[in-house]
Symmetry: C2
Subunit: 472 residues, 2 copies
Amino acid sequence: MTDLDERDAAVGTPAPEAVSAVIARLSKEFGDRLSTGRAIREQHANTVTWLPNEAPDAVVFVESAEEVQAVVRACAAHGVPVIAFGTGSSLEGQINAPRGGISIDLSRMNRVLAVHAEDLDVVVEPGVTRKQLNEHVRDLGLFFPIDPGADASLGGMASTRASGTNAVRYGTMKDNVIALTAVLANGEIITTARRAKKSSAGYDLTRLFVGAEGTLGIITSLTLRLSGLPEAISGGVCPFPTIRAACDAVIMTIQSGLPVARIELLDEVQVKACNAYSKLDLPEQPMLFLEFHGTQAGVAEQAERFAEIADEFGGGPFTWTARPEERSKLWQARHDAYWACLPMKPGAKALATDVCVPLSRLADCVDETKRDIEEMGMVAPIVGHVGDGNFHTVTLVHMDDPQDVAKAKIFIERMVHRSLAMGGTATGEHGVGQGKKKYLEAEHGRETLDAMRAIKAALDPQNIMNPGKILP
Amino acid sequence: MTDLDERDAAVGTPAPEAVSAVIARLSKEFGDRLSTGRAIREQHANTVTWLPNEAPDAVVFVESAEEVQAVVRACAAHGVPVIAFGTGSSLEGQINAPRGGISIDLSRMNRVLAVHAEDLDVVVEPGVTRKQLNEHVRDLGLFFPIDPGADASLGGMASTRASGTNAVRYGTMKDNVIALTAVLANGEIITTARRAKKSSAGYDLTRLFVGAEGTLGIITSLTLRLSGLPEAISGGVCPFPTIRAACDAVIMTIQSGLPVARIELLDEVQVKACNAYSKLDLPEQPMLFLEFHGTQAGVAEQAERFAEIADEFGGGPFTWTARPEERSKLWQARHDAYWACLPMKPGAKALATDVCVPLSRLADCVDETKRDIEEMGMVAPIVGHVGDGNFHTVTLVHMDDPQDVAKAKIFIERMVHRSLAMGGTATGEHGVGQGKKKYLEAEHGRETLDAMRAIKAALDPQNIMNPGKILP
């Protein structure tokens, strides 16, 4: 396994003259909103994995769908790649430019275009971030539930099919994008669906673009589903003697139809890190963090039922609270889990990776992964959106130690194959990018990848839309 | 507007020798499981709309994915169309064979292949019907919530992106198909996803095939999400002074996050028909039928809250019951709405059509549609899955009276354009088939249809998979 596994060979890299021609054309149109400065270009390529930074040839800061269209048309005319950029928080090299090309920075397309409170939907430009959207709609008693941790752009979240802690109750981006507009490789703008809550009118292009990581087109607006802010929220933590006991409690919780809004697992290593970082004094055991949304009576009932379930599997005590400040402190600790890990191996970089398995295999998968961590002598706390069977390892790696890097790569590779062997997927929510391309055939089979390739070729025959991503 | 609007010209009809060659080849393989008898062929073409019955050249009763593959390969070799058939309950001509070809009857592929109770999923062959599935999993305390009324096959329900009364709470087929296998036009079998609850690993082919009406491939198995049978169910009916008042109550109910399992509107015409047919004595006013799922305390709380909302909009009294037999009687009446209509215009055929608009426009759309019905002197009761903004008219038509037929066509056309003008869709759940092809460009625009055509051509370059459907 070499770095080349994750990167693309230079096949398809456009000729320097083609790139120059595009940059000259766009410079005229965009003036100082086009940048070829090295710092800006590198900032627009991926930096949060071990994948090397592969900078685009230029970055254009667009302000409208028509401008996106202009960039795509210029690039299409010369066969130059186009890479969409939101906030740069993707984790698998989605924004790298292995063949160069133009990075389209969408962060200035950050207007909320329409709020339809009666319909519980909102129309936004792709550069709007989830926190910005939530501030915008809070006074209407509404919120956008998808929370991947980072304050990512909604266009980026759609493109990677993001989810996070609330997905067990509210679904993923797949379930919360009603429609979108996108600029295709041929420069045309399409709208995938109407604002109606459901439709049977033709192919589901919405879902095709959600998770396509910019390889089929550039999203220029999104119609998103909002939810009503719950009347009451309660949350709490519950320790368990073992990972398996915690997972069994999760299965029972989901199976009994308890509508948990969040149910997160932290292994004892992560709990210890959170205690130190967030100044908590949680027992250093496998721990579930929970949150319930509903009416006052409803959340109390849910908490009681969960406590009974936890008890049945030897867990507890389940301590919960409806007080916002206490709840926030707990969830802040959960959200800071990534940062909390860093001091555990000073000087190391934290590489987050995720897999997702059927719930019935979750305990097996986490247990085997923990055994691997121990046997390989690694530091890699585990956190998981366990209601969905999804978990992360945060692998701490000294990036300047080739042996440490090699070990981490082997560990992640084993984790992915373990997930696949259990009927799971190579990634529950981070996406494929460059980092997980090599697992796609093992996951889907050659015939399915060929179908994906046929669709890609049909919509982007020149392969200019974020080339070198998803498809191996 | 002529019938040709809905039908395809014979362009693409294979040569008789090609059809004969395929039938000869398949006869050898399938023996008496291949039929060319007229009655069987006509029974496998559409009969529940005004679309003319366009029979296939032969019907093959398959029993495995490999047999589907064999039929598709034979047809592909000779450029002969392949049409998937489940139970024949589709409403827009989805199973017609305008260019002849081979109808693949999947009803014998009716095995439940695996039940994973801990994961709340099940793997079925496409010919399993929803009632059969529900009988299979009931003892495990589980159910499959999608209920389009007819006891349709699950393959057909996936292919038309079916939904129905429970969709407001449990989603549509789009939300409840986890993965599927399908035979493509090239004869290869693909599996679209793993059994994990979520994934970001590549293009969402699952959602691309859900709603594709067999035009991209033939579904040979489905992994479906199950739900836990609710601990308690309560249901009831609530009259309103006007359609608008009922719709306003629906908006408030949805907006306040009340997790209604069903919320159905019947207009006063439909209530009258149901009273007569099902021997009820409901007040003949616009009426909401509701159902709540949850704990004992939860359903009582939901019912109380709904009663308050109804009261706020001048509705009520809301009479509800948790007694199964009373609830069943009400819902049976709702499910019999179609049959209840028939005596209102003796000798007429009932043509069900559906549109779906943003919730905020529902009252406008229903009101204007009712005005149209009145002004045109038609009999067309209205029922709706109003929590989703989706409603149906059941237009009663004397099929042997060309004027009556012409009038109904104009009425439906106006209803579709009304929905589109309000941000709605031409069909919320019945699909496009042949009947609604002509509206697809008005709904999506030329550029979007071109993208759909490109995908279709990429996966089915000979256009043999259910040709003449969806794409105009």
